[in-house]
């Protein structure tokens, strides 16, 4: 199969779930070279060209102009001329058997819910069932959508719940102190509200510090900790990023900041910037972010240091090598019981940028927790 290359609907933005085939630039039987324009596909926001993945022959045009297909669906097949038709047809049949209709993915998919937690509205998204629950905590300025590439794959084995921390996403924006204690208390009360006694935690950045705080205060509620590019293990943090993010109120101010989150800045497309801007404009957000910076990162240093906790609870650390917000060196010198995974080619948003590596690390780690 090495010489057979399926061409599929790509994912160009967080909210992209489908694409429309606009025009084919090559016809079946045409010789094609790697990098040549194969066809144009359009999402709600963007029309773009899909380039040929390899030298060969366009053997099949599976999708016709005007077709609306989910991300990952088969568009066509490029292969060497020598590959037998039967092998191509088998690949096409395999894809068609596994294709998910868009309606099922969109309408039937789980929707975020809202619960009142001590007079505060908290939005969350739950997927999957059974097993010990897994809780996903996003970082500063993030929301539950940050787990877009992780939550569904992790939910095959267990119930996985992503929440909008207070001050974030579509949860209430009011914060009293913005300290890590306040976030942690909200999460434990949230667990009560949705009847989760104890859970595995995956925390990203500030969300990792929140998970560490919960583990320190209520160890019985934390089965394990997966800390992704975490706060809480050292003092340095890129506070210019934090302050810039809190202050940014336009596309042009926000885009270079968001680019710092990824090893590949090209991932920061218009849609991502627009989505973050929409959040930032909501009443109370700037105040919540400024309070959080003042309480947790004043003077450019992290105030919450909980390195010793990882010795007490099963824990692993996952860090993008090119993290420009918190230095990966904070993972140096942790107890030998803590596995540290450094990912090349990933930045601060390692769970998004390297989801294909991060998801199995989380799944196998949790499966091994006694």
């Amino acid at each position: 199969m090495a010489d057979v290359h399926p061409v599929t609907v790509p994912k160009w933005g967080l909210s992209m779930d489908k694409g429309t085939v606009m025009v084919w630039h090559k016809q079946p039987g045409d010789r094609v070279r790697k990098g040549e324009d194969l066809l144009d596909v359009e999402s709600d926001k963007i029309a773009n060209v899909i380039e040929c993945p390899a030298d060969g022959v366009l053997r099949r045009q599976v999708a016709a102009v005007g077709d609306v297909l989910p991300v990952g669906a088969l568009l066509g097949v490029v292969a060497d001329a020598e590959v037998p038709d039967a092998e191509i047809d088998a690949l096409v049949a395999d894809f068609q058997a596994n294709v998910k209709p868009i309606e099922a993915a969109a309408a039937g998919g789980p929707q975020p819910q809202v619960v009142q937690v001590q007079g505060r509205r908290v939005r969350y998204l739950a997927m999957g069932a059974g097993g010990d629950a897994l809780l996903l905590l996003h970082g500063f300025g993030g929301d539950l959508n940050n787990w877009l590439f992780n939550q569904e794959p992790l939910a095959h084995e267990r119930r996985v719940v992503a929440i909008d921390l207070p001050g974030h996403g579509e949860s209430d924006k009011r914060l009293d102190t913005g300290g890590v204690d306040e976030y942690a208390a909200c999460v434990t009360h949230f667990m009560d509200a949705v009847e989760v006694g104890a859970a595995h935690f995956v925390g990203h950045s500030m969300g990792a510090a929140v998970a560490l705080r919960i583990a320190a205060d209520s160890a019985a509620r934390v089965r394990s900790l997966t800390l992704v590019c975490p706060a809480g293990l050292g003092t340095e943090i890129n506070v210019d990023y934090l302050r810039g993010f809190a202050a940014a109120n336009s596309r042009n101010a926000l885009k270079p900041l968001l680019a710092q989150l990824f090893a590949d800045p090209a991932l920061v497309n218009r849609q991502l910037v627009d989505d973050v801007l929409k959040y930032k404009r909501l009443e109370g957000v700037t105040d919540a972010l400024e309070k959080t910076i003042a309480a947790q990162f004043e003077d450019g240093k992290q105030r919450t240091l909980l390195r010793d906790i990882v010795a007490r609870i099963p824990a692993q650390v996952i860090w993008g090598d090119e993290d420009r917000i918190i230095p990966p060196q904070h993972a140096d010198g942790l107890p030998a019981s803590v596995a540290v995974h450094r990912l090349a080619g990933a930045g601060h948003m390692a769970h998004m940028e390297a989801a294909a590596e991060v998801n199995p690390l989380i799944a196998s780690f949790i499966a091994g927790v006694k």
Partner: protein
Amino acid sequence: MAREISYQQAINEALRQEMERDSTVLVMGEDNAGGEGSPGERDAWGGVLGVTKGLYPRFPDRVLDTPISESAFIGAAIGAAAAGMRPVAELMFIDFMGVCFDQIFNQAAKFKYMFGGKAETPVVIRTMVGAGLRAAGQHSQMLVSIFTHIPGLKVVCPATPYDAKGLLIQSIRDNDPVIFCEHKMLYGVTGDVPEESYAIPFGEANVVRDGKDATIVTFGRMVHLANEAAGELAKKGVQCEVIDLRTTSPLDEDTVLESVGKTGRVVVVDESNPRCSIASDISSLIAMKAFGDLKAPVQMVTAPHTPVPFADSLEDLYIPSAASIQTAVRRVVEYN
């Protein structure tokens, strides 16, 4: 939480949330409360198309019905603004502005400048613009450029429910007089709108669609037609960038010029008559500041230089269409 509501509901929600937040915000206009003085008729209308319906029962002392005298009540709103209130006056159709033009351009727009910067006039004048409702020549005009011409006024033209809410909230909080132009053909358009309050800053255009082959600059209802045209053109391999100006004053020159730098080919779409229009204004901006980037002459798609006709067939011909936008884009793309 984001949910789908209409452009009309988004405007109503913005008014309600600002009235809850700030007790100096008041709403006034013809039938805004609905049949004042007639028992059983209160909140019957909420303005001619019902945009303010539901506000009167919540804020009975801050939703005012006015006589059918635009010169009087627009003057009253401007005076109340100068005295510390934040009035939102509904002037049914922009076509009727003529009778109160002195209040707007000689008074409201000038106070700050003529009283040493000490006087502020935080008034919002909401008004319906545009053709398509079979309402003939005196109820269908697109007079946005007349107000854009006047220093001291801000001019806002939301294209979507999200923008309508965020821009109206910004308009109410702004300390200058704002002409808030609601396209009557958009009231039923629905879209995602957060329940929470939010303000969209003035002077920031929205790039509705990315593309590398041509730039379509537009605003208001024409954003939707430009998108439709861009979708059709994409099927033929032509990728258009669509820019929604959102506010014509202040104007986001940077976003326009940046896009022109990328594509070098521009179509400006404006529903108004062509002379001294937003279309001609943007065209001159590009000619002055991005001449070296241009690979083809700028094309304008506008209504013809006539009043809006009453006959359905003629009104349809008068309004720029997705087809006419496509033709203009092809002209700039094929130019050598």
